[in-house]
Symmetry: D2
Subunit: 138 residues, 4 copies
């Protein structure tokens, strides 16, 4: 069981007013939740910069499945890395284009390299790596 | 059938040398492919800034599925928007945490708003929207 | 005079431990200061997305001052916009290259357009707009 | 004297049409100039990720100059680092707030650390590091 700590923070009223307006616009139910989100976002960013933690990423790819040998190359790259593909989702966008999302577990560095290799393949039209987290300490 | 156009560009040799080193490090097979990727990336960024095109996004969420009513709220938000969820992928990370990825089609603005609402829910620990494309003109 | 408000927030101990490690690594003296920085960062980002507030930006340019007519064009663009250049700093980097930083005041939208126009000029090799703030409510 | 190389690239006509629309909107005079900008941007990004090159950054700070000892601390941090402050620009925004921009030369890593330290000081309300370049090979 995780325990919850409560602590006080101080903020200029003018800053707090702006923040309250922001969180109500975004739909947050209270300040704590909004502040926790800012903290988590920063910690995950920092974890990925360090590179060496085991973490989770999702890689979104848009590719042309008519591109010769692309699918076998994409699969090949998934097997050459210490980063492990946990699951994939595939969506047919049109006659040519597929959207594929890979959920990947591994060291931040290894996930980044695997993403770079896939994104540079001919036929992969666009893509982006989301650097997220195992959620362990969040 | 799409036609291919070939045109010339000029570049200082010192810049081109650096670029050649970069593309070989990233694994690109040739300059055209690397330049096309830079162009696509920029156009997609610009399309999302404009806000009003129909496009594709993927939303990655890490959440605690023990959070009361979270899953029904997440589902609720998917139905309140013009943005259409095409497909979802769900991965169990540990006893508490789930990774969910939603592939979403719609106007850039509507996708962004739906993402904001989901990311601000209590129990959603982290998340990121990838702004990609239908691939139509790429 | 601005008044200061103190309020409580709650956080899972595991998340707080990670945050404490982060802020000590970054050199923050206490949690309040670190949290205020996260809040300000987010509000400024949101102010720029809205586009319509009067705000402050700094535009960094690297350019080749041997490029014909570049300096007069840069000056021209500064006069065509509602965004007002408050001050500039100029540094000679080498025989060819100058670093110039412009502090600009105006509506977020107008500053962005002025930056786009300058960055696309021939001879401007690199540049970036920092979106900051008048500091009014911070 | 730098020499200029001319080479051909191929692009689907539909992609090229979109790119032509983009560069005309941004005000570029031709494709070469727009493509060179994309290449430079990517190379500079990659140089900063590597961390170890000598390069140039500009650090924008918004701070409250009434904050006790802040200015002497800011100066102190400038002397403790291998990164060298080349020049600074100072603008009075209002009774409390100053905008200061520092042009810094040094290893990407050292510049980043100096920026982190300054941004975490009490009284520094906002700030951002622009990672640019000496322009040497551009």
């Amino acid at each position: 069981m995780s325990t919850v700590t409560r602590f006080g923070i101080s903020m200029d009223s003018s800053l707090l007013d702006q923040f309250d307006a922001y969180i109500s616009q975004k739909g947050y139910s209270n300040r704590s939740e909004a502040l926790r989100d800012l903290v988590r976002e920063r910690l995950i960013h920092s974890e990925w910069q360090a590179g060496t933690h085991e973490t989770i990423g999702t890689l979104t790819l848009i590719y042309d499945h008519h591109q010769r040998e692309l699918q076998s190359r994409l699969t090949g790259h998934q097997h050459e890395h210490n980063a492990m593909v946990i699951s994939t989702m595939h969506v047919h966008l049109d006659h040519h284009h597929c959207l594929e999302v890979l959920a990947v577990k591994g060291q931040a560095d290894a996930i980044q390299r695997m993403a770079d290799e896939m994104l540079s393949l001919r036929g992969v039209k666009h893509g982006k790596l989301v650097m997220t987290t195992t959620g362990e300490y969040l």
